[in-house]
Structure formats: C-alpha cells, structure tokens
C-alpha cells in the first residue's frame, strides 16, 4: 500500500518506458493514428479519482452543442489534482508523447471534464477544423456501449473510430481537420450501475476525463 505522499509522485507504467515497447507504440500510432495505453499510471488512481469526484464541477450546457461539467483548476487546492494537472503539462509527459509520435509537440490546452447521465456533445458547424493531436486520460469506470458515452470520430462519409471510457487509460488520437467527433448521449443505464466500496450503496457512473489538445502543425 502506497503512502499518500508516494501516491503524489505520478509514475508512468514502466512497461511503456521500455524501449522495445516504445518502438511497438510508434508503429501502432504510425499505422492507426490512434493508440490506447491501459493501466497508464502505476499509482493508486482510484484514490485520486475519489478525491476529484468530491470536488465541485461547473455545468456547461449549450443545448445545441453540449452538456457536461467542467473543472476549474484555478480554484483547486487539492495537491493530488494539482499534481495530475502539472504532470500533463510537464516536460516529462511531453517527451513521453514525443517519443511515441516522433515529433516536437506543443500542448495547447488541458481540461478536466465530467460526463454523467444526460450529458452529450453534438456535431456542429462551429467545431474547430484543424489537424490536432487529442490526448485523453480517463479516470472513468468502464462504460458499456449501451450506456452511451462513446466518443465517435467521423468524416462526412463514415465513422472512422470510436472508443469508450476505461479507467486509468491514456488515449492518443491524431484528428485531421476533416474529422469531427461527438460524445453519445449518456442514458439512464448508467444510473445505479456501480457498487461503492462497501458493496452496498450504489453510485452513478460518470466519465471523468482529462482532455489535452496538442498542436501538430508539422505532424
């Protein structure tokens, strides 16, 4: 069992730091423009997730565009959350991504969002049309496809990729300018779908996700 202080020192799963695995990750990303790294941190992320879930999120509802809750880091004093934010902004994390993508990168934005029952994002004409690398770090429990919450990427012709939230997973996706995305409406199947620690009380499930946008002009 790690102490609270040890848990603040975020460690990427050592498998992903292995040189041979790095080459494999480079090949997967080069071929698929997409990669998912499960068990990304070695730390007790369940504890950090529980700390985040106790924090106040702010509703962002634009009926034609989206409904979800966002977290204001500037008002946060919890060291666990600040450390996680700082990690995603750090040189160490950037170098890790650059190792897989084999390009110099520049982080544009980092947001922490929560998607619960009734939340969604819609396709719309105001979406940014630019090539971008999207990185997601999920602290969510596993979502079943029939609950909604899938993030779907599509062109005008076809769906090209979709993925579902998965706990302690880092997802990296190259999104070309012509590709759009939406998060499918989260329906009532998520309600009472998760047992709490004591196994008695039922908790509602939500997607808890760091969303990191990375410039990739030279990609």
């Amino acid at each position: 069992m790690k102490s609270k202080e040890e848990n603040l020192d975020l460690k990427i799963n050592r498998i992903y730091l292995n040189k041979e695995v790095l080459i494999e990750m480079q090949e997967v990303f080069e071929e698929e423009a997409f990669i998912q790294l499960n068990n990304f941190f070695e730390n007790d992320m369940k504890e950090i997730k529980d700390i985040i879930l106790k924090e106040k999120f702010i509703l962002d509802y634009k009926p034609q565009f989206h409904k979800f809750e966002k977290f204001e880091i500037k008002n946060c004093y919890k060291p666990e959350i600040i450390k996680l934010y700082e990690f995603f902004k750090s040189k160490k994390f950037l170098e890790f991504l650059e190792g897989i993508l084999q390009f110099e990168l520049n982080i544009k934005s980092i947001n922490l969002s929560k998607y619960s029952h009734g939340d969604f994002t819609l396709l719309n004409d105001k979406m940014k049309r630019e090539d971008i690398i999207e990185v997601f770090y999920d602290l969510s429990s596993k979502f079943e496809d029939n609950m909604g919450g899938t993030l779907t990427y599509l062109t005008k012709e076809e769906e090209i990729y979709y993925f579902q939230a998965s706990f302690n997973t880092l997802t990296i996706f190259f999104k070309p300018s012509e590709v759009m995305k939406y998060l499918k409406y989260i329906n009532n199947r998520v309600l009472n779908s998760e047992k709490s620690k004591d196994g008695k009380k039922m908790k509602d499930r939500s997607i808890l996700r760091f969303e990191i946008e990375i410039d990739c002009e030279e990609f």
């Binding site: 509802y61 634009k62 009926p63 034609q64 009734g118 969604f120 994002t121 819609l122 396709l123 029939n146 909604g148 779907t152 939406y182 499918k184 409406y185 329906n187 009532n188 199947r189």
Partner: protein, 207 residues
C-alpha cells in the same frame, strides 16, 4: 367531415378563435398543445394501426429512436384515410384559421416515431426549406409525468438555444403543433422507463 376525425369541441368558431389567440401569443415560440384532439375512437384505431407498421431504429449524435417510413406508402387503409384527411381542403382551412394561412395541400411528411427506454431527441429547430408547421399526434397510452419522453421547448439568446422553458408530458390523443422557424428549438427528453412514447408526427409545408 371534420367531425369524423376531430373532437367536436375544437370546431366551434369561439374555440378556434381562442386557439388562434393562444397560438400567436405562445412563448417561447408559436405552439399549441391540445388534449383529446381527435375523436377517441379514431385515436384508438390509429394507435392499433401504427402498431402494425414496421419501425426502423435510428441512432446518431442527435437522437435515438425508431421510425416508420413515410406513410405515403403505408398499406394501412386507415392511415391512408388519415393522410388524405389531413390534406383535405376542409381540414387545411380549419388549421389555417388558428395557425396561419398558406399551407400546401399537395405536400406533407407523415410518419410514426417510437421512443423506448433510453431513447431521446436532443435540441434542434426542424428548420428545412419549405417546412411550415411541425405536428405531433401523441398516441402514448401509459406514460406518466416522471417517465420522460417530454416535448421540451427552449428559448433562445443571440440565435442559440438557451434553456427549457416549457415541458409537455405526452398524453394519449394529445395534439402538439408549432411554427417552424430558426428559433423553434425543441427536444424530447429521454424515456426513463420500459414504456413506449409513440406518435404520428410530421410537417405541413408552405405553399
């Protein structure tokens, strides 16, 4: 005859005048919601008939529901009679008295929508060139207040939908109609129980 299909209480000149006033002054945009609109016998017959139609599940970012093809090709005699009735001179004159003039008698979209548990329809305005009035004949038989499936009307700010200001619970034989415009923002809330929210809906077009 109008009274073959429509509840006679809606056919008096006084009632029509009342509905016209209500429609034109409605907020957040011109709409009417009328309970017991059709003759009960006809509403029940329509309910039985649409249950025989084939529904196709459709899902995307905006909605999840099941829909029939347009009823212009339906093999049901009753549904065809209903379609002819809606486009008859007498019916259109009746609607024009309280909705507004200029409904095209040659064009109508008519189909049935079915929303089951977890289905929804998110915010949109229905605006497509030529569409004049959107209508919904609700035929859901057992939907309760907390079961979801509500028709929600939203106000707007700077051309964008803002928030729900009117929420209409579906009832059997309820007729909802609204004028289609770039601010007719509406949605149907998720059905939260194992029941069917079923309706005949469509659009009248402008001449």
């Amino acid at each position: 005859m109008l009274s073959d299909w429509i509840n006679p209480k809606f056919l008096s000149e006084n009632k029509i005048s009342e509905m016209a006033k209500e429609f034109i002054s409605a907020e957040p945009f011109q709409y009417l919601s009328l309970n017991d609109f059709l003759n009960e016998k006809k509403a029940n017959e329509l309910f039985d008939e649409i249950k025989k139609e084939k529904y196709y599940k459709e899902e995307n970012d905006l909605y999840s529901f099941s829909r029939t093809f347009d009823f212009k090709n339906s093999k049901s005699k009753l549904i065809q009679e209903f379609r002819v009735f809606l486009l008859s001179d007498e019916t259109l004159k009746f609607f024009e008295k309280f909705l507004g003039k200029g409904i095209d008698s040659k064009r109508i979209d008519l189909h049935s929508l079915k929303l089951e548990n977890t289905d929804y329809l998110l915010c949109h305005d229905d605006l497509v060139e030529g569409r004049y009035f959107a209508f919904i004949f609700n035929l859901s038989k057992n939907i309760l207040e907390n079961d979801g499936g509500k028709l929600e009307l939203l106000d707007e700010e700077k051309g964008e939908a803002k928030s729900v200001v009117k929420s209409i619970s579906p009832k059997f034989n309820q007729f909802n109609v609204f004028k289609v415009s770039n601010s007719s923002f509406h949605q149907v809330s998720e059905v939260l129980v194992d029941k069917e929210r079923i309706s005949i809906s469509g659009w009248f077009y402008k001449k």
